[in-house]
């Protein structure tokens, strides 16, 4: 046996998935858990009989195995990365350099439909855990030579591939530089999902609002690439990160561009309404019910007074009880297996909806308030956005408990200041509203027809012309 092989085996602790075999002067080693036995036996065994010379072996392999990646290595440390990636390493007696040949087995699910960001009309595919497939899904949509992919390996132990993808002549080089700098500063044990690195990519500003889009939709990713944004793909993660992001990006859907623009405008206005409704409704309800009753119309007030009269708790306690109950129900629904879904909805609808009112714990209007709030929250498919909204909703509620409408106004001012101060890759978060940018408003709350949208957003790119005459 080649001495290096025994060193490798020792280094790997004689793990059970190591397979090594000697044929004449050649010893090869691979990990059966990540390699395909078929490939090893079909291609390798047949090619390597009776060769003693390293160069001969290399030539023979290159001439007989066409569809696999072959490389020559010297450093033994590199061997572990290749073995774990599904390579087979070949050692020849008398040589310290060795050959690594790809014999990967398929450990991925296929390309499936997106489950977290479904569309009615539009491409159905979504990213998978396979890095090459993910890049392929982007590459097949943008066949421009300027689509550049830069790869680094991050993670001391996981050695995960992280690719930065951008269109060279649209994306700003300072953005790319900044991202690369952030990536090079990452010192982490392992990266299991793209979520691991997002904290490193954000600057030090503390905010709950997401500063990058995370999506599993290749079409949305490509729309953003074409606008000059930069995409970060992480191996083994179906979620890609897109930078820079503004608040407006979270109120858009890739589907908007597949519809008539006027209809998309309507949906977008609805989303903006939902954004404010879901943040403000419970706070507004508390303010009106406990401080500013004079703002409620007569008949509604009398009806509300009747509903409230059997509830012994203060209004904000009532609202908090129900909001927290709903959040728990939602969390349970996400975590629980789908078979438990039916019983969950029965408990949710009957116990929370009907029985809580009958028992006099909450008044019916609170159920309506919480229902409207949570329905509007579901408009936002981005988890981080939904969490930020949830957090601000609570801030609004707590500031209202003490001061009513004034609390809402103050919390609103704080929220606006906060949003204005957020920057994602030096891009103002509230653009195009603050600073006002008419060119971008055409594709934010409104969506003008495609033939009128001839410019890329100028806050991301200097190359803003994308169609039409100059």
């Amino acid at each position: 046996m080649h001495p290096m092989v025994s060193r490798i085996k020792k280094r790997l602790g004689n793990s059970t998935d190591i397979v090594d075999r000697q044929i004449n002067n050649i010893t090869y080693i691979y990990l059966e858990s990540v390699s395909s036995d078929d490939k090893v036996s079909n291609f390798l065994n047949k090619s390597i009989t009776k060769i003693n010379n390293f160069d001969d072996l290399l030539i023979r392999l290159e001439n007989s195995i066409y569809n696999s990646h072959i490389t020559t290595l010297n450093d033994l440390e590199e061997c572990y990365y290749y073995l774990a990636s599904g390579y087979t390493c070949l050692f020849i007696k008398g040589y310290t350099k060795y050959i690594a040949i790809e014999t990967k087995t398929k450990l991925d699910r296929g390309i499936t439909e997106s489950s977290s960001e479904p569309l009615i009309r539009g491409p159905k595919d979504s990213f998978t855990e396979n890095h090459a497939i993910n890049i392929g899904l982007i590459r097949k949509r943008i066949k421009d030579p300027n689509l550049w992919i830069e790869e680094t390996k991050i993670g001391r132990r996981t050695k995960t591939k992280v690719s930065v993808i951008y269109i060279k002549d649209i994306a700003q080089s300072r953005h790319i530089k900044m991202i690369k700098k952030h990536l090079s500063n990452i010192d982490i044990d392992g990266i299991i999902d793209s979520g691991y690195i997002r904290d490193y990519l954000e600057n030090k500003q503390k905010t709950s609002f997401p500063k990058m889009i995370s999506t599993e939709r290749p079409d949305l990713t490509c729309q953003n690439l074409l606008n000059g944004k930069i995409v970060i793909l992480v191996e083994n993660s179906p979620i890609v990160l897109v930078l820079p992001a503004t608040l407006d990006d979270f109120l858009k859907s890739s589907e908007d561009y597949y519809q008539k623009s006027i209809n998309a405008t309507f949906s977008r206005i609805l989303r903006y309404i939902a954004f404010f409704v879901t943040i403000l409704t419970p706070a507004l309800y508390i303010a009106l019910m406990t401080f500013n009753q004079e703002m409620i119309p007569d008949q509604l007030l009398i009806s509300l007074a009747g509903q409230r009269s059997q509830v012994p708790f203060p209004t904000f306690v009532e609202v908090l009880i129900f909001i927290i109950t709903f959040e728990i129900l939602r969390e349970a629904d996400i975590r629980s297996p789908s078979v438990a879904g039916a019983s969950m909805s029965i408990v949710g609808a009957l116990v929370l909806g009907d029985a809580a009112v009958a028992a006099g714990i909450v008044s019916p209007i609170v159920i309506i308030v919480v229902a409207i709030t949570s329905i509007c929250e579901l408009v936002f498919s981005d988890m981080d956005m939904a969490n930020a909204i949830r957090q601000w909703r609570l801030i609004f509620i707590f500031s209202t408990i003490f001061t009513g409408i004034i609390g809402i106004v103050v919390a609103g001012i704080v929220l606006i200041i906060k949003l204005c101060s957020i920057e994602s890759l030096n891009t103002p978060y509230l653009i195009p509203f603050s600073p006002l940018n008419i060119n971008i408003i055409k594709d934010s709350i409104f969506l003008v027809p495609a033939n009128k949208r001839t410019k890329r957003p100028d806050y991301i790119t200097n190359n803003i012309k994308k169609a039409g005459e100059s």
Binding site: K206, E294, Q299, A305, G306, R308, T315, T403, V410, V414
Partner: protein, 382 residues
Amino acid sequence: MKRLLIALTFILLLTGCWNYRELNDYAIATGMAIDYEDGEYEVSLLFTNGSKKEDEDTQVTVTSEKGKTIYEAIKNISLSMPKEIYISHLSVIVFSEDMAIHGITPALDYLLREPQSHQNFYLIVAKDTKAKDTLTILTPLADYPSQNITANIKITEKLQGRITNASFNNFVSKILQKGVNPITNSIIIVGNEEEGTKKEEQENSVASAYTKLDTLGLFKNDKLIGWTTMEESIGINMLLGDVNILYLNIPCGNNNMVITSTSYKVKNNIDKNKVTVNINANGMIKEVGCSVNLEDPKTIKEYEQKAEEKMKEYIDMGIEKAKSLKTDIFGYGNMIYRKYPNYFNSIKDWDEIFPNLEIDVNVEFTLAHKGSLEQTIGEFTK
């Protein structure tokens, strides 16, 4: 974060708005009635609380107490209340005739001064009955009496020329301005009052008692000085321009023809001693009880003239009434004050001069529509 904390501290310091109240702690008063007897005010509040159970109706109670001042009377009411009295949602205030004759300044001052008071309610005077009783009559068409009265005023005011828009703000602004006096609507109770207060009343198909809007009350400053008749009410409202739909009964054969106005405009020309009022109205025929040829332009002309005469007749009655009571409810004094302030200021008491003011009324009425029927039934069958 530090800045946020500072901002939050300021919130806590702004205690002026610190008025946390649960809705359960409030007794919501939606109507107020003020009676006056032997130097004491009797204030009645109509409390409306929503029903506790879904299938129950709204619950109403009227509580009244006496006091030397209105505030005292309200505080006396709160002695019997398990909740805080909440008057932001008052929608109507009923004064008794005695109270209106005595002068309603105390009530107006209290309602203007009290921060909780919202000041968008109607003022109305109860005629021939205690003000309190008007708040106790239940009707099947409205959930509670105050809603009944306000909706009655709000809707009828638009559909008839007889009712004026006597909102609190309107009334107070007229008192505060020079050379104009306010008017209000009046309300009467028809039928058996005692029966009308019962809960079953809302299920009866024939109401044993109901409230009804009546003629106008003319004020001099804050004091009621007289009632009008129906015709005078119409005339007064016509001069005030407060007419949305006016209807006129014009004799025709043995019967009457009803003509209503569809558009109505008043233009005043002010001079020091003379006011010229030009009224321009379009109208349509609503009902014809006789047989006339409506296709003949001469007939139309004839009835236009008759309508003009009728309108003039109403207006003259209204002017006559106001002049006889020496109260300028039309606000001509105010218009003169705006145009000739020096002249107006040289007059000591405008209301003494007002009866001598020459009011010249020109009416122009155009019969523009005949409704869905072009001809009369009588003409058809000839």
